[in-house]
């Protein structure tokens, strides 16, 4: 138990001393996960809207598939991306393996299903009369979507929060395609908070792990406060 307290103390120390290694790792975490969240939002929201408002055959099956993909293990996502970008894979020539870009891709793929699913839920929460009102006011397809999104902004931003939470907390894909590299340059390194936590744990440094976990949660808190602020506007 004392490791938890020690972890807190250590977390405070890391933060107040602005430990350069930890700062770099934390910054990398935020950059990668935020980028992935933004990308996933850009895909998931239109995709969710297309599915929700669509009337194509197999729509129900597609929704079920998306729900099923909530259970996609991060390791499997990591593996699939790995196979695609490893040197002998179809995109091997891009040399993406063990780069932050690869991590962004993997996290984007990972959170896409849940964000799409939550977008669908968010949209179905909008009063149907408002949908009819928008149509009757002569909204183009885009105007319609933008306004429905505005109306569903609370739930959609909640989805963003969930997506970000999942992205920044996952480790399986990050370690497989990133490799948890601590290089001398910031850009070549792929160590993020979760992979660092894993490493510390595997080395038996429990308080360090907990300290890093606390740092991660503080970052998440900041991002969430930002999201909440937008939500309530």
């Amino acid at each position: 138990m004392y490791e938890i307290i020690e972890g807190f103390v250590e977390a405070i120390r890391l933060i107040v001393t602005l430990d350069p290694d930890v700062m770099a790792i934390a910054a990398r975490s935020v950059i990668i996960s935020l980028t992935a969240t933004v990308l996933a939002t850009l895909f998931a929201v239109p995709l969710g809207a297309a599915i929700y408002f669509g009337t194509f055959r197999g729509r129900k099956g597609l929704i079920n598939l998306i729900q099923t993909l909530y259970a996609l293990p991060t390791v499997v996502v990591g593996l699939l991306i790995f196979l695609l970008i490893s040197r002998v894979g179809p995109f091997g020539s891009l040399r993406l393996l063990f780069t932050p870009t690869a991590m962004v891709i993997a996290q984007t793929v990972l959170i896409l299903p849940i964000m799409t699913g939550l977008t669908i839920s968010a949209l179905s929460g909008v009063d149907p009369v408002l949908r009819d009102t928008l149509r009757s006011l002569g909204a183009t397809r885009l105007q319609f979507l933008v306004n429905i999104m505005k109306e569903a902004r609370f739930a959609i931003l909640a989805a963003v929060a969930i997506g970000f939470g999942r992205a920044i907390s996952e480790v399986g894909a990050a370690i497989l395609v990133g490799g948890n590299i601590m290089a001398s340059s910031f850009a070549s390194s792929t160590r993020v908070l979760t992979t660092a936590i894993s490493l510390e744990t595997s080395m038996g440094n429990i308080s360090e792990s907990i300290a890093l976990g606390i740092v991660l949660l503080i970052i998440a808190l900041g991002v969430n406060l930002a999201i909440t602020t937008v939500q309530h506007r």
Binding site: D127, V129, L130, D132, T133, L134, R135, S136, L137, G138, A139, T140, Q143, N147, K150, E151
Partner: protein, 361 residues
């Protein structure tokens, strides 16, 4: 302008509309009245392209509006709609009203002016910055109205636009509707359950019953010459009596209603089963008289069974073998000293009896 050709609409296995046929002219105010659940909202939604008919066609200026999906937007942009249970966007009142203008890329200044004007007109001046979600029922309905009006549509569809409003607000809105129609030439189709509103506003009224228009006509036609027993009942003719024509000559006929014979003007011939519709305001009540008098009409002795206040009037029901309702001013009721049990005579002219074929519907 808007033509309904044998329009039908089913939900699952329930036929809501079945053969609606009719026409709304350019610049006309057209009221759709009918009982709850008749399909008024459904019909308006079909016009606004919010739903697709199961059969038949709706044409605007000759084009089948449901035929070409590619045209939907431009057709919809001709129209504005106010929904029966209006909903507001979770933003300010002003933003709610501006939505349609924004869709049309109006400039910011024009939007602000139009929204201000609209708020003024619907009696919500100063409400612009309020959160729309906290409005009262009537306030919301007025916002919805303003929202549809600011886009100055060619066709304005309104589904029970004043259902939640008090008479003073109703009057304002009605004046506004008339002004819009007159000044901008807007074609207006609205549904209402307030027949008098239909009459006050509409050039013509369509009575929707059992999935189709039971009657389409001017307010006067619908209210004085209802096409069937059901329409008569619905437009508030309180006295509808069934009988058989026993004599017919020169357009005059006598109808046996069991307890009495009624003189009427009607084109029906002997033996036909008919319903007699007599407006309560056409029935005169007088003190019971002894002996008989010559009278070119119908004069029936009876007993008052109830006196009920109705607005500035009272409704007096007399049992003349069958119940007959009449409307009198409170003063008349006092002068005649009418009360339950009073012996009176009820009289009405042959001309005030409107005869329709029985069981037509």
């Amino acid at each position: 302008m808007i033509e309904f050709e044998d329009v039908s609409k089913r939900f699952d296995d329930k036929a809501v509309l079945a053969g609606v046929t009719g026409r709304v002219e350019q610049g006309e105010i057209f009221a759709v009245i009918g009982p709850s659940g008749a399909g008024k909202s459904t019909l308006l939604r079909l016009v606004d392209l919010l739903d697709t008919p199961t059969g038949g066609a709706i044409r605007i200026d000759g084009t089948d509006i449901h035929a070409d999906k590619g045209q939907s937007l431009s057709i919809r942009r001709m129209m504005g709609m106010v929904f029966q249970k209006p909903a507001v966007f979770n933003t300010t009142v002003a933003e709610n009203i501006a939505v349609g203008l924004r869709f049309r890329a109006a400039d910011e200044r024009a939007i602000r002016e139009k929204v201000e004007d609209a708020l003024e007109i619907v009696g919500l001046a100063g409400y612009g910055e309020r959160r729309a979600r906290t409005l009262s029922g009537g306030e919301m309905q007025r916002v919805a109205l303003a929202r549809a009006m600011v886009i100055e549509p060619e066709v304005l569809l309104m589904d029970e636009p004043t259902a939640n409003l008090d008479p003073v607000s109703v009057e304002k809105i009605e004046d506004l509707v008339i002004r819009i129609n007159r000044d901008l030439g807007t074609t207006i189709v609205f549904s209402t359950h307030d027949m008098y509103q239909g009459q006050r506003l509409a050039h013509r009224i369509g009575v929707l019953m059992d999935g189709a228009f039971a009657q389409v006509g001017t307010p006067r036609e619908v209210f004085t010459l209802p096409a069937s027993r059901n329409v008569a009942r619905f437009v508030g003719i309180e006295n509808v009596v069934d009988g058989v024509v026993v004599a017919a000559e020169d357009g005059m006929s006598a109808v046996d209603i069991g307890s009495a014979r009624i003189r009427t003007r009607s084109p029906f011939s002997r033996g036909e089963r008919v319903s007699l519709c007599i407006r309560s305001e056409d029935i005169r009540i007088a003190p019971a008289i002894r002996g008989r008098r010559v009278f070119d009409g119908n004069i029936l002795p009876g007993t008052v069974t109830s006196v009920v206040p109705r607005g500035p009037f009272s409704r007096v029901t007399v049992d003349c073998g069958f119940p007959l309702s009449s409307v009198l001013s409170w003063k008349a009721v006092e002068d005649l000293d009418l009360r339950e049990g009073s012996q009176v005579t009820a009289s009405f002219t042959a001309a005030s009896v409107h005869v329709v074929r029985a069981g037509e519907d």
